[in-house]
């Protein structure tokens, strides 16, 4: 083997400059991301504390005396809002659990088993989601009514879970793919059943995927409007329906109340995201390439 080239010291000053430049560019990019993501949201939140008259003022007031009148109105005039948020929570949590459980189970099978049927059914999983949901509701509405499921939490839980179970299955499959098969085998050797392997070995290692799925399903269920509109009236009515009533086509939108409602609605989701972030970042430990 020929002799290695001697060690050459790079220009350290240039490198330091490059390092600083990199840090500046990165910080600038992060700042850009924050503005892009948060500005419209901030606009909503800030506006919810402004008086109706000030909301559309141009140039907008940066400094103003905050008012809580819209939040008060939300509690006193839109009495449906807070109870429907309870319904939203039940439905969103239920749908998240159902979708996650179903997709962990099927994602595991798609990852660990192989045959022609399975490979083909991946296409089916996706193709089935191509028909616009509004069209699917045409035949569903009378069926749901006949089953006496109309205006129940259950119907929304099932619908929301179903419309996300395809994607979640695919997500779980990719994450489980990255867990070495030797781990399953080790579990089997240790006497675990397939279900125990899944719950005790696979699930803890696929937390990232579960967290991503949970965020998707929860956020969708939390904000969904079309199905909620068609399948609920009173008992299972969700918060987005109230929000849409605030956006009133007869007497005009009550912007302050709308923004206040949206702000309140944003809180649980933000909390969930911050909670799920832990699992997302946790990451799979190194060494999984050997599988």
């Amino acid at each position: 083997m020929t002799e290695a080239t001697p060690i050459v010291l790079p220009n350290m000053a240039a490198r330091r400059v490059a390092g600083i430049a990199r840090a500046i560019v990165r910080t600038a990019l992060f700042a850009l991301i924050i503005v892009w993501s948060a500005f419209p949201i901030l606009y909503i939140v800030v506006s919810s504390f402004k008086q109706q008259k000030e909301i559309f003022k141009y140039p907008p007031d940066i400094i103003f005396t905050p008012t809580f009148e819209h939040y008060a109105a939300l509690a006193t005039k839109w009495t449906g809002f807070f109870p429907t948020m309870g319904n939203s929570l039940i439905v969103a949590v239920g749908a998240t659990i159902l979708a996650c459980v179903a997709s962990i189970l099927s994602g595991f099978v798609y990852s660990r088993y192989a045959n022609r049927f399975l490979a083909g059914s991946v296409l089916y999983l996706i193709a089935i989601r191509l028909l616009p949901p509004i069209v699917v509701t045409l035949p569903l509405f009378p069926v749901v009514d006949a089953l006496k499921l109309s205006d129940t939490h259950l119907v929304l839980i099932i619908l929301y879970a179903t419309f996300w179970v395809s994607l979640c299955t695919m997500i779980m499959k990719t994450f489980i793919d990255k867990i070495p098969r030797t781990l399953d085998e080790a579990a089997v050797v240790d006497g675990a059943t397939t279900m125990q392997t899944l719950v005790r070995v696979i699930m803890p290692l696929a937390l990232q995927g579960i967290a991503a799925c949970a965020i998707f399903v929860f956020v969708f269920a939390w904000n969904e409007y079309l199905f909620a509109l068609i399948f609920t009236t009173q008992h299972a009515k969700t918060a987005p329906l109230i929000i849409s009533e605030v956006m009133d086509a007869v007497s005009g939108t009550n912007w302050g109340v709308l923004f206040a409602g949206v702000t309140v609605q944003l809180l649980p989701v933000t909390l969930l995201v911050m909670l799920a972030q832990r699992f997302l970042i946790a990451g799979l430990t190194a060494g999984s390439v050997k599988g």
Partner: protein
């Protein structure tokens, strides 16, 4: 000529210091092995040398130049990882040739180099496979090939054999040894297996809890262990270590065992300066105990056979002698029976004495 200086290395994770002020040099072409139990800091030191871990304190010099701030590429090191770290989306050929590709080596030359390395490692027929289609041993060869294909200043091995079975491990060990003999590239090798360390190393550094326990050639460590830890860590089966009280009786040194038994040493033998009132640890390797006296085995100890472990031509004999348990490696001629009395002979020069408190060798 010194190739690498490791000067007062310190590694801290937050407030936890895991490597404490360690210094050593590696000579040009030397094969240095860092050995020690898990958690001793050996991999951390290796990764600091590689440029994968920041050096919290101290300096790393290559050819006399400080390289702390340089990237692995600039340090011109090559590394074999414990889990191989093969790129799952690349073929064997691409995996091996990746560094050359990054260095913009022309395609034909690259293929030549990869081919040459693959032939040396006998993986020429696997070049178009993906890592997941390879066996453990084949992956290991690819990982070594990837490191070899470059002309690094320094080869780094991070427990490269620990995921292999015993037979493959022995085979690969031989291969690495041969490679080093033909390539003569300066190498730093991390392992927890003392046998690997003994067979491969020009020089061994034995680490404990982020400190150097002993540094030296395999013979140094085997023959003159600096402390009980090294004495027990190096060599298999493990050295017999027995607490004794050293004294003198009838003009010659005598070791008294805990159970009252006495071992007389030849008159004229000079014991090192004793501490703790003569309470010391005495050590002797099983292969230095023999059931038949030979010239030079001027001392002996008596006891009763407790257990036998045949190894084929040899046999491990465990004996109870006055409250101490000793293991001897003897030639097996079917002469032993558990419960029989036995006299073991040894050369007093093979006896190691350690301070019972500091565990350090008494010289």
């Amino acid at each position: 000529m010194v190739a690498i200086n490791i000067d007062r290395f310190v590694k801290r994770y937050g407030s936890v210091e895991v490597v404490h002020d360690i210094s050593f040099d590696i000579k040009e072409g030397e094969f240095l092995v860092l050995v020690g139990p898990s958690g001793c800091g050996k991999s951390t030191i290796l990764r600091m040398v590689a440029g994968l871990e920041e050096i919290s304190g101290g300096e790393l010099r290559m050819q006399g130049t400080r390289v702390n701030e340089l990237s692995p590429k600039e340090r011109q090191v090559a590394m074999v990882f414990q889990d191989y770290a093969l790129y799952p989306h690349m073929s064997v050929e691409q995996n091996i040739g990746f560094s050359l590709e990054l260095a913009r080596v022309p395609r034909t030359e690259r293929q030549e180099q990869v081919k040459r390395v693959a032939d040396i490692l006998q993986i020429g027929h696997l070049l178009h496979r993906r890592p997941r289609e390879l066996s453990g041993g084949q992956r290991q060869r690819v990982a070594i090939g990837r490191a070899m294909v470059r002309k690094p200043h320094l080869f780094l091995f991070d427990e490269p054999l620990s995921n292999l079975d015993a037979k493959l491990r022995a085979e690969m060990r031989g291969q690495i040894k041969r490679l080093h003999q033909s390539l003569k590239t300066t190498s730093m090798y991390v392992t927890h297996d003392q046998l690997e360390a003994m067979t491969l190393a020009d020089r061994i550094i034995c680490l404990l809890d982020g400190h150097i326990a002993q540094m030296g050639t395999p013979h140094d460590l085997f023959d003159r262990p600096a402390n009980v830890f090294v004495a027990e860590f190096i060599g298999s089966p493990t050295m017999n270590i027995v607490p004794v009280t050293a004294g003198a009786a009838g003009g010659r040194p005598v070791l008294t065992l805990a159970g009252g038994g006495q071992v007389g040493l030849p008159a004229g033998m000079v014991l090192p300066a004793l501490t703790n009132g003569g309470n010391v640890l005495a050590g002797i390797r099983p292969e230095h105990l023999s059931d038949t006296p030979t010239p030079g085995t001027t001392a002996h100890i008596e006891g009763v056979i407790e257990m036998l472990e045949p190894l084929g031509s040899d046999i491990l004999v465990t004996m109870q002698a006055g409250g101490a348990t000793l293991t001897a490696r003897c030639t097996d001629k079917g002469q032993f029976q558990p419960g029989q009395p036995l006299t073991l002979h040894f050369d007093p020069a093979r006896l190691h004495l350690f301070d019972s408190k500091t565990q350090m060798r008494l010289t």
